[in-house]
């Protein structure tokens, strides 16, 4: 009989080994699933784990897709460390697309051509404010009305999606778009500068890495960051120390809303350059997985962001080359998180064989 025995101290090693173990288990289940679908498991796994790294074009796509995941997950890490359960980053990201895209669209329709150094920051500011505004609804209702931030932030995702639909079917619809629900293409002066000629990779990736450093400093070197984490780990201690729970709540939600909004703004002028009803592919939810796989740590999030981005690209390759259903990516992502949480048990417990002679509980 196996028995879980609490460790005296959480294991640092297991904290890092657990995501690797979860990934290996996911790969094993994936291989079985490929076999069940009548595909060659080796080919399938190569598609998901090797192909995305095979050439410069694929790697640039991988980094491109990792960018919003990393940026959103950084904000979520601040939230989860403060025990603020913002699971509606998807909605904040969509509002970032509306905020940033709205500025870009306004500049475009007004025929205002600003230099890139002015236009791009202006658009991104619009994105950040959009995301923050959306997160502030959750913060306000939690703070003043005691409403669960989990449910409010999640409900707001559905509202945000309808808001995007409303804008592209209504006020922002391109009159010359043959009736398609989409906005005009943004003017080239608002586009995010490219990072690598000949690829779609834009400077957003550098911005993301800069933010990793900033969030690291905030979490581990700034007093406010420390206060937030005390509030998350030991609310009673935080109250006793006089740290305001309300300030922590607002700080955490403004940071994560702002970052999700920034990610949306960058996506709006970095890749799609117009707004359509399908601007998001659930990146805000994938970012939650990135955040946990990255151990709520800025540096871990970079690796996790690339891993989940790899799975998205692998899924697309699997669809186009092996005829696998695209939904497979979602299965693997969900599976990875479930397995990760299970493996995380090893951080706090060790598994022991219970001998028949030991006293039973």
């Amino acid at each position: 009989m196996l028995k879980l025995e609490p460790r005296a101290q959480p294991s640092k090693l297991m904290s890092l080994a657990s995501p690797v173990l979860a990934l290996v288990l996911t790969a094993i289940i994936a291989a079985m699933l490929f076999a069940a679908l009548g595909k060659d498991p080796v080919k399938g796994l190569t598609m998901f784990f090797v192909e995305p790294w095979s050439n410069q074009r694929q790697i640039s796509e991988l980094l491109l897709k990792a960018t919003p995941l990393i940026v959103i997950a950084l904000g979520l890490a601040v939230c989860y460390r403060s025990n603020v359960w913002n699971i509606g980053a998807e909605g904040q990201y969509l509002l970032g697309i509306l905020g940033g895209g709205g500025v870009a669209l306004w500049l475009t329709t007004q025929g205002i051509v600003l230099p890139k150094v002015v236009a791009v920051p202006l658009v991104l500011l619009g994105g950040v404010l959009g995301g923050m505004a959306w997160a502030s609804i959750t913060a306000l209702l939690r703070d003043k009305f005691n409403a669960s931030e989990i449910l409010v932030s999640l409900m707001l995702v559905y509202v945000a999606q309808q808001l995007v639909n409303y804008m592209v079917f209504g006020p922002w619809k391109d009159p010359a778009g043959f009736g398609f629900p989409q906005t005009k293409n943004f003017d080239a002066s608002t586009w995010l500068p490219s990072l690598l000629g000949g690829t779609r990779l834009h400077i957003g990736f550098i911005v993301a890495l800069g933010l990793v450093a900033l969030i690291w400093v905030f979490m581990f070197r700034i007093y406010r960051g420390f206060q937030l984490q005390v509030g998350g780990l030991a609310p009673a201690a935080a109250r006793y120390a006089g740290f305001s729970a309300s300030t922590s709540l607002w700080t955490a939600l403004m940071i994560s809303g702002g970052l999700a909004g920034l990610a949306g703004g960058m996506e709006a002028i970095g890749t799609i350059r117009q707004i359509t009803p399908h601007v998001s592919a659930g990146l805000g939810f994938t970012a939650i997985i990135v955040c946990f796989v990255g151990r709520l740590h800025p540096v871990g999030i970079v690796f996790a962001g690339m891993l989940l981005s790899m799975m998205i690209i692998g899924g697309e390759l699997g669809q186009s080359r092996l005829g696998l259903p695209n939904a497979l990516t979602g299965v693997f992502q969900g599976l990875l998180l479930v397995l990760l949480l299970a493996c995380d048990t090893l951080i706090h417990y060790r598994i022991r064989l219970r001998s028949a002679l030991s006293p039973a509980h």
């Binding site: 209702l141 009305f145 939810f285 998180l337 479930v338």
Partner: protein, 306 residues
């Protein structure tokens, strides 16, 4: 008048899955477990139910398949949070994300498929009464079963010994453990029962309410059902009333559109979600009231012997 009767009928139909899922989650939460995986369980159950109805043509088989799918996923969730002490929020969220992906994956072949037509169910005699008949007595049997289930749960929770034990486990697992009750097994049972009910609700959506399968068919109803337990301050009858209220709000958008109200359909589609947020905020506003009614150990793990 006919319009109003149809609106009432539609409200009952759209409130029923919320009521059944809300009831399942209420049983979970009465035992102290918060399952954020409701949306995922309902999605997997919806496709399981749809596939079963598509193959066999039987609604009964579809509901059984849905319940089994919901219960299976709930058992995984229960195993993780009850025995491995994983974080309940994160694990529930993981189940929801997995359920979304898995149902989309399994359901690929069922998109656009139609179920065989069935003669609509009518309560003999009563359905012939003008106005009341079409409003209340021409529903799928599950609509009435849901009401019976609510009544049965009231009896179970407040009048039976097993219900008392379940509530004790949710209020004070330490005391229940000290009295010799197997807290973890009781919690698992509650979680599995809750999952089965969420599964029935999911199958109702894909087999009776929609009736079709598309990716993400449940469209947030799992989360609304979660909010319902709070609105209802963990009372079964209020879950039913809340569910009908939300069913009514969902239907109101179609009624408004039908009445020729010149308002964007996208903005009207926000209505159920906005209503959920507003009601949640109003109900939660008094922290003391919530604290009195909420099962005291809700969301808190229990480790016997430590």
């Amino acid at each position: 008048m006919d319009q109003i009767a149809l609106l009432i009928a539609a409200t009952l139909a759209s409130g029923t899955p919320l009521a059944i899922a809300g009831l399942g989650l209420l049983i979970n939460e009465k035992a102290g477990v918060l399952n954020l995986g409701a949306e995922g369980m309902m999605l997997v159950a919806a496709i399981a139910g749809f596939a079963a109805a598509f193959t066999t043509g039987s609604h009964t088989v579809a509901f059984v398949a849905g319940a089994a799918a919901g219960a299976a996923l709930a058992a995984c969730f229960g195993g993780l949070v009850i025995w491995l002490n994983t974080n309940q929020y994160a694990t529930g969220l993981a189940v929801s994300l997995f359920g979304y992906g898995f149902s989309a994956f399994v359901g690929v072949g069922y998109v656009g498929q139609k179920l065989a037509d069935r003669t609509p169910f009518e309560v003999p005699g009563l359905s012939q009464i003008p106005f009341v008949g079409p409003a209340l007595f021409k529903q799928h049997p599950m609509v009435y079963i849901a009401i019976v289930m609510i009544a049965a749960t009231v009896w179970f929770l407040y009048r039976s010994r097993a219900g008392l034990v379940l509530r004790a486990v949710g209020e004070s697992p330490e005391s229940a453990h000290a009295l010799g009750y197997k807290v973890r097994w009781i919690r698992l049972l509650a979680v599995v029962a809750g999952g089965a009910l969420c599964g029935v609700a999911g199958a109702f959506l894909s087999v009776v309410y929609a009736p079709l399968w598309v990716e993400g068919l449940v469209a947030g109803r799992g989360w609304i059902a979660l909010a319902l337990t709070t609105f209802a301050t963990w009372r079964p009858v209020r879950v039913l009333l809340g569910a009908y209220l939300f069913g009514g709000v969902t239907m109101a958008q179609f009624a408004l559109q039908g009445a020729g109200v010149n308002f964007s359909s996208q903005l009207l589609a926000m209505l159920p979600y906005v209503a959920t947020i507003v009601v949640l905020a109003i109900i939660s506003r008094n922290p003391t009231w919530i604290r009195i009614n909420m099962p005291a150990s809700l969301g808190k793990p229990f480790h016997p012997g430590s």
